[in-house]
Symmetry: C2
Amino acid sequence: MGTIRAGNLYGTLEMLILRALELCGPMHGVGIADHIGSRSDGLLRVEEGSLYPALHRLQAKGFVDWEWRKTEEGKRAKFYETTRKGRHALSSELECWVASTRAMLSLLEVPMEEVK
Amino acid sequence: MGTIRAGNLYGTLEMLILRALELCGPMHGVGIADHIGSRSDGLLRVEEGSLYPALHRLQAKGFVDWEWRKTEEGKRAKFYETTRKGRHALSSELECWVASTRAMLSLLEVPMEEVK
DNA sequence: GTTTTTAACATAGACAGTCTATATAGACCG
DNA sequence: CGGTCTATATAGACTGTCTATGTTAAAAAC
């Protein structure tokens, strides 16, 4: 059971990005993708073709801001951070996701030991 | 926070159906949808336009069988049940979903109390 | 200081699974 | 027999992902 099948991020990517920014502070696109990939042991992989459209949607909704900065290697990159509005949206989306995940775990009768 | 937003079932519906059949025995389409809806307190709602295509996909893959029977109200309905192949597929899909959910919970830093 | 390589951003197009809306068939009822 | 209800069915829109490819600017190599 190596990598997750396609479509498994569906509907959760914007939330993952917002939360990563909220928890870790400003990051650039590739940094966010790396963060998600490595902190999930490569289980959750974010492709560039999903990442940038998601970042643009978040920006269009006013959930993130960005500015050009330099990475540690000296490359220019857009560093994103959440806005107040974005954190607000994240909070309710997260609540909603947790509720539906709880419902799924109950419906599927997954023992809690397997989740913890 | 009433009903879950659109798209939240994405990628999990076939698993939900298979698991419902595995746990509760043969059911017909509407029965499955009702089961999922009521057992999640209306949080997870399966629309007919999602349900039947999913059932057809499951059948095409050989994961379910069906036969005409009568409901308690005497209406004819297709009663579905899982095949051996379907239970096998369910088991690995479930394992995969649990793993990615665990990764999400960790990434999002959701306290376990909120899930249990 | 010119060329090559690389990191980061970007986008077009395919695809899959959901949703909305509508349609059909059979059973029961008056 | 016409009306209503239950269950199944499907067309078409929409959304968010993926694959594949392209662009830009800075660093590295020479």
